[in-house]
Assembly symmetry: C2
Homo-oligomer: 446 residues x 2
């Protein structure tokens, strides 16, 4: 049997490796348009932060290992341009311009996502860059280092924008962040969002909300981001306003699309074509809280989906329950964590949501080193179910959020969550964990 995979990033290589492990005589071919496979993409902002680290440190497994040790026919520099579902072939062109056509029995589309670049004047100037591939990362790091960049404008204020912001400040680069929408972290409870905003501003970063961007202009060795009412200047501009799924080819082949034009898959990761799977940042997923389709381009679910595809292709039927909307990031000395639905998302999904945000301490009464911890919790008035949680703090936010994530998978009520035996010791939390305090407060309010 021939298993062909388009895309050699997290989902693609996870699928390839596991399929080979499951069934050693399976013919596995991976077609990857870049030269890089299996690297820690999420690690790039931290690598860029440190001029002394080599970007290739981020490579987890080199192409030759997949080829020689794992017996995977991994073809880098191979860009697939079309899928013929009737003939069961994919066709494209390699870096040297040579055309290729490969037949498959089972196909996995793992084409990932691409940064959204506004269709405005100046976004194609040198020095205007987005971070997605390892090549992008190298380009940014090289640009900053070789030109001794002192000022950067970041367009966007999502996870990657904030991580890059921290990385650049670590290198003592002045950072201005700008975005057209008026609200900082719009999915976040306003009280918690303002804590994050203060942390960023406290590190000397300018935050410019509600600034529509007209164009970017070159001005000597500098770039100007032109807004109707202001101009932000830097030697480089990072565009980090979000990503979109690479689903055009799938759509052209007649595969159904889901939220945000991601490729629609069932719980076995199968598209509407019996022989075609999709996984990773290009594919949609079920949300365990809403039961509805969603699209969340994050690494863990890409890896997990890759494995599930491998299992299904090799005859070990596997269904994925879905994602809980968990996401965490670090920004300067703060940990930011979320799982489940925000108030807005919960309303949109038809729940009758109610929230509280509590401010507690990170450690026990009188324990030295205690810091402030903010926990927001969302519940459903009708069913009593836990719908989501957000935590911001200087310690213990990120790992804590895994508990409500599990609770969401179990469709737990707030009441049941409040009864959980969440261990306590003075260096780590008050007797009542801040999450339990939040749950107890919400119960009172409900």
């Amino acid at each position: 049997m021939k298993f062909v995979i388009i895309g050699g990033d997290a989902a693609g290589m996870s699928a390839a490796s596991r399929a080979k492990r499951n069934m050693s005589d399976l013919e596995v071919t991976v077609l990857e348009q870049t030269q890089d496979v299996s690297y820690s993409a999420c690690g790039m902002p931290y690598n860029i932060a440190d001029p002394d680290r080599d970007m290739d440190d981020l490579v987890v497994r080199h192409a030759h290992v997949f080829r020689e040790k794992q017996g995977i026919d991994l073809r880098t520099g191979h860009r697939v341009e079309g899928i013929d579902r009737n003939a069961k072939t994919v066709a494209g062109r390699n870096l040297e311009g040579r055309e290729f056509e490969i037949s498959y029995d089972k196909l996995l589309i793992a084409t990932g996502a691409s940064p959204i670049i506004p269709d405005l004047s100046g976004f194609d100037l040198p020095g205007v860059m987005a971070l997605k591939t390892l090549e992008d990362g190298k380009k940014i790091k090289d640009f900053i280092g070789s030109r001794d960049v002192k000022k950067v404008v970041i367009i966007g204020m999502g996870y990657i924008a904030l991580e890059m912001c921290e990385g650049l400040r670590d290198r003592d680069i002045e950072v201005q962040m700008v975005k057209p929408r008026p609200i900082f972290l719009p999915w976040m409870n306003p009280e918690l969002a303002s804590v994050v905003k203060e942390e960023v501003e406290g590190h000397g970063v300018g935050i410019h909300l509600g600034h529509k961007i007209d164009r970017i202009e070159e001005s000597g060795s500098s770039l100007k981001v032109i807004c109707p009412d202001s101009i932000l200047e830097g030697e480089a501009v990072l565009v980090a306003i979000g990503v979109k799924p690479n689903s055009e080819m799938a759509a052209k082949a007649g595969l159904e699309l889901g939220p945000f034009d991601s490729i629609a898959v069932d719980r076995t990761l199968k598209t509407n074509d019996e022989n075609i799977y999709s996984a990773g940042d290009c594919a949609d997923a079920y949300h365990v809280v809403t039961g509805q389709k969603t699209w969340v381009p994050l690494a863990l679910r890409a890896n997990r989906a890759g494995w599930a595809v491998a299992d299904n292709v090799t005859g070990k039927r596997t269904e994925l329950e879905g994602i809980a909307g968990s996401a965490v990031f670090k920004v300067f000395d703060l940990q930011v964590a979320r799982t489940g639905l925000s108030m807005g998302e919960a309303e949109k999904a038809g729940f009758d949501p109610i929230e509280v945000a509590v401010k507690t301490r990170s450690r026990a009464h009188a324990h030295p080193g205690s810091t402030t911890m903010h926990v927001q919790i969302v519940g459903d008035r009708k069913s009593g179910r836990l719908l989501g949680m957000q935590i911001v703090g200087r310690e213990g936010a990120v790992h804590r959020i895994k508990a409500p994530s599990v609770a969401l998978h179990c469709k737990m009520t707030i009441e049941a969550f409040s009864q959980c035996d969440l261990a306590y010791a003075p260096p780590f939390s008050p007797t009542w964990d801040p999450m339990l305090t939040a749950a107890n407060q919400l119960i009172k309010k409900m």
Copy 2:
């Protein structure tokens, strides 16, 4: 209605405060034999570690606040000596030796637990001390400070022994730990236990396992702990071999006892007497994994049980689901966490348990500052259920364990747990959280 509470520690004062909040005209009387109520007992080892901190920092709420602001009739220095269930009275003696008798409509026994002191010669010598009450803590701190103690022997190697060991080493005091049983942290997977043991030994602490203790002898200003084959010497000896529930009075009154002679209560915290509740370290609890009774003297469940009693007494019926066997502690630079059952406990409870222990990294590939993380997971071969987890690491162990704790409350399978959306970012974990890696390994083995 008259609600009388014996014992003004975590469970007792939680119950008193909440009962008054629930029902302001309730007559609430608390009888506490010491002078101290509402202090962070678990914080004592950390306070003792720092000669500059006042021990009274640990007091969360002073007696007069309960009396004046909350309207609780709090009587410190009142030792209850007997319960007359027919007359519905309790009787005892106060510090001045005056007898008292008080009638109740509802009674809460929250007498806590006491350190186990072996019935051997020399355990009553000055300088041989155990840590339980705030008075104990002050006595130990004063003894160490005023005599400029340089060497301490700790008998026992449980949580408190290890926390005290760290506290004493912080003060540059030489510590020798000794216990009769041959295994260090016997409930722990041996691989993980050896990591903890090495950490303790790495901080210059002598660990003497399998040393039966014959007696303690005075020798000038020093104390000798005499074992058949060796003698350990220090200016002070801490006895930390465990605690036992203070249930003698309850037993004498004909109340049923549970595991380890703790007071048996149902899910509403009621004893076999309609009008008598028990909560905190003196009472038993249900274990959510086994469904059986267990006895775990820890702070969170004491507070929670106190609240539940208050609710039940004031007519708001509340049932507690039980505990998951979660416990965490810090020892030097290590975090140690457990939840659920160990292999031995799982076997004893009639499961068909299987475990794996994995060694992973605390952060993503190539992320600076990554350390080793050990995760053990226990599952049931028959049902596929998650039964327990243990984690040892330099970061992220303690808060992580809250996720499997929630899973245990939900009776989740290992398979379902392995599908949880546990968020990832490079500074905090590999893409697959170490707990997921452990679950995935166990699935393979099952």
